[in-house]
């Protein structure tokens, strides 16, 4: 089973992020970067399948992705392809360069994270499926492989799942919670150093969207309760008493 996994090196939205001086890009000065959360599950799923069935796991990263690719190799991926191009918010461009980089790989499946934690586009995987004319399913929460087909459950609204079956090759986007991603071991890190990390330079031809403006959203702000912890607790309890929520 040969599986290609897309892995993005992405800033944690929890860290301090803002808008850069140009008003068109993110300011990520102190932001913590790591493997995109959804991709972590995708890599883990691919490695588990390889451990069970044999085969190969190839990770592909677009943009500044070296640390994340090394992490994937340390988790157990076999080799990595890095495409040093930053497409920003244009998912078409990201998909185009990936498509070009993997076109000679004979894969059974491609896994992508359901979305990226920074741009939240949920597009790259499906656009790539369209470029490669592959059957696909998104938001996969479990999968079972048998006889050239893969049975998946995909998440829909309200706690429901939809069970579908796809022939291989196919592309799946992976939803969080599908597994419990492993920690990277010291052994894994050592091994990763000897694994192939190939860099290929590709520039996309197309350009579909352009950032006109980036800004902080206008939000209706909550009434803030301030003071030291004890004062804050007293104020919260007063609000709850006032509303008859506690005696």
């Amino acid at each position: 089973m040969k599986i290609i996994v897309l892995a993005k090196h992405a800033p944690d939205p929890q860290s301090e992020v803002g808008v850069a001086g140009d008003g068109k890009s993110l300011s990520l000065g102190t932001a913590v970067f790591d493997i995109n959360d959804w991709d972590r599950y995708a890599v883990e799923e691919a490695i588990r399948i390889k451990e069970k069935m044999g085969g190969e796991v190839v990770v592909v990263g677009v943009g500044k992705s070296e640390d994340t690719l090394r992490k994937c190799l340390a988790m157990g991926a076999d080799r990595a392809i890095k495409i040093p191009f930053d497409a920003g918010l244009d998912a078409y461009q990201t998909a185009e360069v990936i498509c070009e980089a993997i076109k000679n790989e004979k894969f059974d499946m491609i896994f992508a994270g359901l979305m990226s934690q920074d741009y939240n586009n949920s597009q790259v995987g499906v656009i790539l499926a369209a470029m490669l004319n592959l059957p696909f399913a998104t938001a996969v929460t479990s999968l079972e492989i048998g006889n050239g087909v893969v049975k998946v459950k995909r998440e829909i609204e309200g706690g429901y799942q939809e069970a579908v079956q796809l022939p291989m090759p196919c592309l799946l986007t992976i939803q969080s919670g599908i597994n419990e991603p492993r920690y990277v071991s010291v052994m894994g890190i050592k091994k990763a150093k000897t694994k192939e990390l190939k860099e290929v330079s590709i520039t996309p031809k197309m350009s579909t969207v352009e950032v006109a403006k980036m800004y902080l959203p206008p939000v209706k702000k909550a009434e803030l309760i301030t003071g030291d912890p004890s004062q804050i607790a007293t104020k919260i309890i007063a609000i709850l008493k006032d509303r008859g929520l506690i005696g």
């Binding site: 918010l89 399913a137 309200g158 939809e162 006109a212 800004y215 702000k221 909550a222 607790a233 929520l245």
Partner: protein
Amino acid sequence: MKVFAVAEHRFGELNPLSIELLNLANKLGESNAVVIGKDVGKFADELAKYADKVWKIEDASLENYNPELYIDVLLQLFQKEKPDVVLIGNTAQGAEYAPYLAVKLNAPIVTDVVGVNTANGLVASRFVMQGKIMVDLKIKSMPCVLTVRQGAFKEGVQKNGKIVDAGIKPSVAAKRKFIEYVQPEAGEVDITKANIIVAVGRGIEDAANISLAEELAKALGGVVAGSRPVIDNGWLPKDRQVGISGKVVKPKLYLALGISGAFQHVMGMKDSELIIAINKDPEAPIFGVAHYGVVANLFDIVPELLDKLKGK
């Protein structure tokens, strides 16, 4: 502008977001609804109240949503009708097939759109960084595909459009097969019935800290629920998840501890009667839906609350 909005339905019910798509379509120009399925008459009637025209695409093979068949029939319709803008709900269904359809239409796509401006070309607004930052994206060519967030276009005009049979049948056999819908498992606690919910997010940091929330919930006479990462990490059972892929709750009190307020979570709790959020990040989007906010470390506040509730 010629706008096509693709309606969505499941379990025999029209997704109300379909009407919101038409609200946006009417704002942009000529509004066309498309409804796909086995027997869609009643959905078409409902859609016609808000559209200039409703296109029915009916076939037995379209009984259950299948992205390959949806894309195939939509492409057939759009090749003839040449829309400028295609609107699709940003749902588990719409977000799945929209990017694929866009590629086949040679169209730019913007997902999870919350605003559209046509003063200077077509510009779509969306959030990035899980709601912390907003971006306006200029779309470089038409046609384009937009997937639209629920709740963003609630107001609109009434119409009395005509309904036509598009006369389109699937022209391909889908490789992907629908098997069945799987119902959520019922758990011990039904959080949708609770008056008081203490909800924890990734800020709770560890499984061991859940007991702190349990203690607080007990003192308040409520139950503990969580955001998705808490459930993904196995710190709480699946049926305690609040949000679009979990449960929608409307308690008298929703106390959000260490939850950032991502849209997918907010959709499950925004209608709570009283929302108090404790988060150490003053920019956390949860403060946009909370009535009261505390910018602090939850581990400083919760023990104080517990002490006071226990009358110490």
